[in-house]
C-alpha cells in the first residue's frame, strides 16, 4: 500500500468529485444511489426503501458522535454519486474498531469514486480518529469490491456462511479488516 493511494485529495481530483459530510438534506440523493440495482445487490439494502427511512438513518448516524457519513459529489454538477459510512464502536473495549460500508451509484462505477471515498474514510480513521482496525463485510462474489479493499490493505479474515439473503438465495460474505498500529 502506498501513501499515494491514501492521498484522499488527489483521489477525489482524479475521480472528479468533492468529498463532504452528508446531512439529512441528502436523503433523497442517497435514496437514489442506494436504490440502484447494483448497490442493492452488493449491500444489505432492500429495494424500494422510502426516503423517510433513509432520512432517519442519516439523522441517527450524523448526530451520533461515533458515526461518520461522507458523500462524493461531482465537481461539475454537484450531483451526489456515492457515500461511505464509518461507524466507530462505542464500547470502551472495542473503540479502536470501526466498521465501514459504502455505495457508488451504478451509473458511476469504474471511475475511481469508490477509491476517493475509501481514501477519505481511511484518512479519518488513521489521521483523526486513531483507529487501529477498520472492518467490513463483502459478499464473496463481489470481485470489484474485494479488489478495491485489498488495494487499501484490507485482509480476508474468513467467510461467514449464508450471511445475508439476496435475490431469493442466501449469500456468503467475507469479513475483511485493515490494521494500523503506527500511532505514536
Amino acid at each position: 500500500m502506498t501513501t499515494q493511494l491514501l492521498d484522499h485529495a488527489a483521489a477525489a481530483t482524479r475521480a472528479g468529485v468533492r468529498i463532504r459530510a452528508l446531512g439529512t438534506a441528502d436523503a433523497e440523493a442517497c435514496t437514489q444511489i442506494m436504490a440502484s440495482p447494483g448497490v442493492v445487490h452488493g449491500t444489505m439494502q432492500v429495494p424500494w426503501t422510502p426516503v423517510e427511512r433513509r432520512r432517519s438513518w442519516i439523522e441517527r448516524t450524523t448526530t451520533d458522535p461515533w458515526g461518520h457519513l461522507l458523500g462524493a459529489e461531482l465537481v461539475e454538477t454537484g450531483e451526489l454519486v456515492g457515500n461511505v459510512g464509518l461507524h466507530v464502536n462505542a464500547n470502551p473495549r472495542t473503540r479502536h474498531i470501526a466498521s465501514l460500508g459504502m455505495s457508488v451509484g451504478d451509473a458511476w462505477q469504474g471511475r475511481g469514486i469508490g477509491t476517493a471515498l475509501l481514501a477519505a474514510a481511511l484518512h479519518l480513521a488513521d489521521d483523526w480518529l486513531a483507529l487501529r482496525r477498520v472492518e467490513l463485510e463483502v459478499y464473496t462474489d463481489n470481485a470489484a469490491g474485494i479488489a478495491l479493499y485489498e488495494r487499501f490493505g484490507f485482509e480476508r479474515e474468513g467467510t461467514l456462511r449464508d450471511f445475508a439473503y439476496r435475490e431469493g438465495t442466501y449469500v456468503d460474505a467475507l469479513t475483511m479488516a485493515r490494521h494500523r498500529t503506527a500511532h505514536r
Binding site: M44, V46, N91, P92, R93, T94, H96, I97, R132, R133, E135, E157, G158, T159, L160, R161, D162, F163, A164, Y165, R166, Y170, T175, A177, H179
Partner: protein
C-alpha cells in the same frame, strides 16, 4: 426436530438445572456475575461496573422485542446458575440470523450448565424462531467455550485480529457460525 427438544431436557437434568425465561428478579444475581474475572475476561464488560447499571440493562433487555433471555436455575438451591441470550437480527436481509451470548457464573462452571443453556437456545432458534443461521463471537483463547460451541455444531468461520482490548492487550476473536441442520 424433536431431537433438539429432547436434548434440551436431558442436558438440563444432567446439569442439575432448570432452564426458564429470565425475570427481573434475576437482575441482582446477573449483575453480581458480571463482576467475576472470568466473565469480564470472556465478554466485553468492564471491571468495576456499577451493579445498578448492569441490573437496569438486564431488565431493559427483557422488554426488548427480538431478544430472548434465559436463566438457568439450580434445581436444588434455586441459585442463579447461568444466563443465555438469543438475539434476532433486525435488518431485513438478515432476519434468518440470530446471535448467542452465554455466561455461567464461576461457581457453576464445568458442570454442563452452558450446554443446557445452549440446547435451549438452539431449540428456540431451530424450532420456534425459524432461524437458518446462528452465530457468536468468542476470544480465541477461551478454549472451554470454543469446545462447547463445536459440540453444538458451530464452526470457526473467521478470526478477527485485535477484535477486543482485554487487560492491557489486544485479543483476537473467532466468529463461529452454525447453519440449521
Amino acid at each position: 426436530m424433536t431431537s433438539t427438544s429432547t436434548h434440551r431436557r436431558s442436558s438440563a437434568e444432567h446439569a442439575g438445572v432448570r432452564i426458564r425465561a429470565a425475570e427481573p428478579e434475576d437482575a441482582a444475581a446477573y449483575a453480581a456475575m458480571l463482576g467475576e474475572p472470568s466473565i469480564v475476561s470472556g465478554s466485553l464488560r468492564l471491571p468495576l461496573t456499577s451493579t445498578s447499571t448492569s441490573r437496569a440493562h438486564f431488565v431493559e433487555r427483557l422488554g426488548t422485542n427480538d431478544v430472548h433471555v434465559l436463566t438457568a436455575e439450580a434445581v436444588d438451591s434455586l441459585d442463579f446458575a447461568g444466563h443465555g441470550v438469543l438475539e434476532l437480527e433486525r435488518r431485513a436481509r438478515r432476519r434468518h440470523v440470530g446471535s448467542i451470548i452465554l455466561l455461567v457464573p464461576e461457581r457453576h462452571q464445568g458442570r454442563g450448565v452452558g450446554s443446557a443453556l445452549m440446547a435451549a437456545l438452539l431449540d428456540l432458534a431451530d424450532n420456534w424462531c425459524q432461524l437458518h443461521r446462528v452465530e457468536l463471537e468468542v476470544n480465541v483463547d477461551n478454549v472451554a467455550a470454543i469446545s462447547l460451541y463445536r459440540r453444538f455444531g458451530f464452526e470457526v468461520e473467521a478470526t478477527k485480529r485485535g477484535d477486543c482490548f482485554r487487560d492491557g492487550a489486544y485479543v483476537d476473536g473467532h466468529v463461529m457460525g452454525r447453519i440449521r441442520p
